[in-house]
C-alpha cells in the first residue's frame, strides 16, 4: 500500500465517522503528519481525480477515491487478521501500521487465501477499535494500557 492509499483510507474513515467532509487537520492527526504534508498530498489526490477539497469544509473522496480507499482498508484488514490468526501477534495494530506501507494489495490477496475473513469486510471495520468489528480483540484503550 503506498502513501496515497494511506491518505485515502484515513479520509474515508473520517468521512464515515463524521458523515461530512474530512477536515485536513483530522487527516493529518490520524496519519501523524504535519498539516502542510496533508495539504500537499490532498492536492495530489485532487489532481488524480480521487478527492475534492473545499475550502473551510474539508476533503471528500470521489467515487474512484472511495473504491481505492475501500481496497486500501481491505488490505489493512487482511494484514491485521493475518497477524492475529496466522502469526499470533499480540501487538497487531502497531505492526499492521508498520507493515501497511510495504505490503501491496496483490500480496494481501494471497495472504487472504489462508485467513477466515468475513464477506462484509471492509464494512465491518471499526475505526474506534482500529480493527475489524468481527474480531474478538481488546478495545484500543485496553490494548494501549497493557
Amino acid at each position: 500500500m503506498n502513501t496515497a492509499d494511506q491518505y485515502l483510507k484515513a479520509i474515508y474513515l473520517i468521512q464515515q465517522e463524521d458523515n461530512s467532509p474530512a477536515a485536513t487537520g483530522r487527516v493529518a492527526e490520524m496519519l501523524d503528519v504535519s498539516p502542510a504534508s496533508a495539504n500537499e498530498m490532498i492536492g495530489k489526490l485532487e489532481a488524480r481525480g480521487l478527492a475534492e477539497h473545499e475550502k473551510y469544509k474539508g476533503v471528500s473522496l470521489t467515487d474512484d477515491g472511495i473504491v481505492q480507499a475501500r481496497d486500501a482498508l481491505q488490505t489493512y484488514c487482511i494484514i491485521e487478521r493475518f497477524l492475529i490468526n496466522v502469526l499470533d501477534v499480540e501487538d497487531f495494530r502497531e505492526e499492521a501500521r508498520e507493515l501497511e506501507p510495504v505490503i501491496d494489495g496483490t500480496v494481501a490477496e494471497r495472504l487472504d487465501t489462508i485467513i477466515d475473513r468475513r464477506s462484509e469486510c471492509p464494512d465491518c471495520f471499526d475505526p474506534e477499535r482500529d480493527a475489524c468489528g468481527c474480531l474478538d480483540v481488546e478495545p484500543l484503550e485496553e490494548a494501549a494500557a497493557d
Binding site: 501523524d32 496466522v86 501500521r97 507493515l99 487465501t113
Partner: protein, 161 residues
C-alpha cells in the same frame, strides 16, 4: 500511523521475512494441491507444478536462514499447509487454465513482494543485525527467481493457447 515505505527495525524485517516464508509456503502447498487434483492426467503440467513446489521450498529455506540471524522463528510448513488445505475447496481452479493462472499469480505475488521489500530496505538507514548487503543480495536472487518462474509459466500458457 506513520507513512514510511521503509524497513526500520529488526522486528519489522523479521516480520516481513516471515510473511515471505508464508507466501512461499502458500505457493508450494497450492502447487501440490493443484498437481494432485488436476481434472485429468497431464504429465507436462504435473512436472511444472512439482518443480514450482520444489523451488518455493528452496526459497523458503533461504528465508529461514536469514530469519535465524534475527533471532526470530520461521513458520512451520505444516501449519500453512493445513490452512491452504482448509480453504482449497473454495479457491480451487476449475480447469487447466485456472491452475496455470493461479500459479502465475503466486509467482507474480512473490516477485512483487521481494521487489517492494528490496525498495523498503534500500530506503532504510537502519543497521540490522544481519548484514544488509548480504540480505539485499539474497532478496534480489529470490526476486529474480520469481521473475524467471513468471516467464516460464507465461511461456507455457502461450504455448497451450
Amino acid at each position: 500511523m506513520s507513512l514510511r515505505q521503509r524497513v526500520d527495525s529488526d522486528q519489522q524485517l523479521a516480520r516481513l521475512l516471515q510473511i515471505g516464508i508464508v507466501l512461499e509456503e502458500v505457493t508450494e502447498s497450492r502447487a501440490n494441491n493443484h498437481r494432485e487434483s488436476l481434472p485429468e492426467p497431464d504429465a507436462a503440467l504435473e512436472s511444472l507444478l512439482a518443480e514450482a513446489a520444489e523451488r518455493s521450498a528452496a526459497r523458503r529455506d533461504r528465508l529461514t536462514t536469514l530469519i535465524s540471524g534475527l533471532a526470530a522463528d520461521s513458520i512451520p510448513f505444516d501449519e500453512i499447509n493445513a490452512l491452504v488445505d482448509a480453504s482449497y475447496g473454495q479457491t480451487k481452479p476449475d480447469d487447466f487454465d485456472g491452475v496455470l493462472y493461479d500459479q502465475l499469480c503466486n509467482e507474480e505475488t512473490g516477485y512483487k513482494f521481494y521487489e517492494d521489500m528490496i525498495d523498503a530496505i534500500e530506503a532504510s538507514e537502519t543497521t540490522f543485525t544481519v548484514d544488509k548487503a548480504h540480505l539485499l543480495s539474497v532478496l534480489r536472487e529470490l526476486r529474480d527467481a520469481e521473475r524467471d518462474a513468471v516467464e516460464t509459466i507465461t511461456t507455457v500458457m502461450e504455448q497451450r493457447e
